[in-house]
């Protein structure tokens, strides 16, 4: 897929403002979701899922495609199979396994690999 510089800049601006949307599927129904609504994107057994406050949607995008789609937004790669919305993190805590556990505002927990913590810090301005 070829993207012009103008399209890319527009995409990043949209993502940053949280207006960019993505399609999520629940059975045969398609839902249009704002990126800002997404808590995290996860790949399980080669299938992609989008998680919002209280619902789960299947997505057609692969991890790298979704990662490209949310460039410039508050979503960041947090592990080998997950992209997490930094805006939805309530707090993080370390675990003995050398990784971090992010507790989200809906009470769910997500693992943040140490490899990606630097990205989270940069995003938050630490």
């Amino acid at each position: 897929m070829r993207v012009t510089v103008a399209e890319w800049v527009l995409g990043v601006a949209e993502a940053a403002s949280g207006h960019r949307t993505i399609c999520g599927w629940q059975e045969d129904t398609m839902h249009r979701l704002k990126l800002a609504e997404v808590f995290y994107f996860e790949v399980v057994d080669d299938r992609s899922f989008l998680y919002t406050q209280a619902a789960v949607f299947e997505a057609k995008e692969k991890l790298y495609e979704f990662e490209r789609l949310c460039a410039g937004s508050t979503l960041f790669r947090c592990s080998k199979s997950m992209i997490l919305n930094a805006e939805k993190i309530d707090y993080v805590r370390p675990s003995l396994s050398g990784r971090f556990e992010a507790v989200l505002s809906n009470g769910e927990k997500a693992v943040v690999s140490r490899k990606y913590v630097a990205d989270l810090k940069r995003m938050l301005g630490v």
């Binding site: 592990s79 080998k80 199979s81 993190i89 309530d90 707090y91 993080v92 805590r93 370390p94 675990s95 003995l96 396994s97 050398g98 971090f100 693992v111 690999s113 140490r114 490899k115 913590v117 630097a118 989270l120 810090k121 938050l124 301005g125 630490v126």
Partner: protein
Amino acid sequence: MLMNNITLWVRRYVTVYGIIMLCTFFMCLLFNPTSELPVVTFFGRIMVFTLIALLSLAVYYSKDELTVKAWWVRTALHLLLLEAVLLPLAHFWGFWHGGTDILVYAGFILLAKALWHLVDYGLNAKTAAQINERIRKNRLEKRT
């Protein structure tokens, strides 16, 4: 990303090197306080030990994210690997000699590994505190 990885591995190398030095100091202090070591050779050997310790971290490598149980299994495997490689090498270099020595040395390897995980946990706790502080500030800024 490359810079992050380099920083991470340099930090790990320095931490492991420091822990091995500390353990060696206490081992000498307790069991062989009069020993004199050729400085360059000694530091060189500690560097080799550190390199082996870091290379053995390959047991943690996985294509997928490790579960907590898998992490504990690999931690046990890592300890066994460290003991299996470092004990004969240390014996070859004259760090231990007799029957009780081997137990003490094996204990120090276990202690060094535990200490490494503790240091790692402490550094991560500091990072988590920085992130949480920033999240709290961002939230306050949004409210006002």
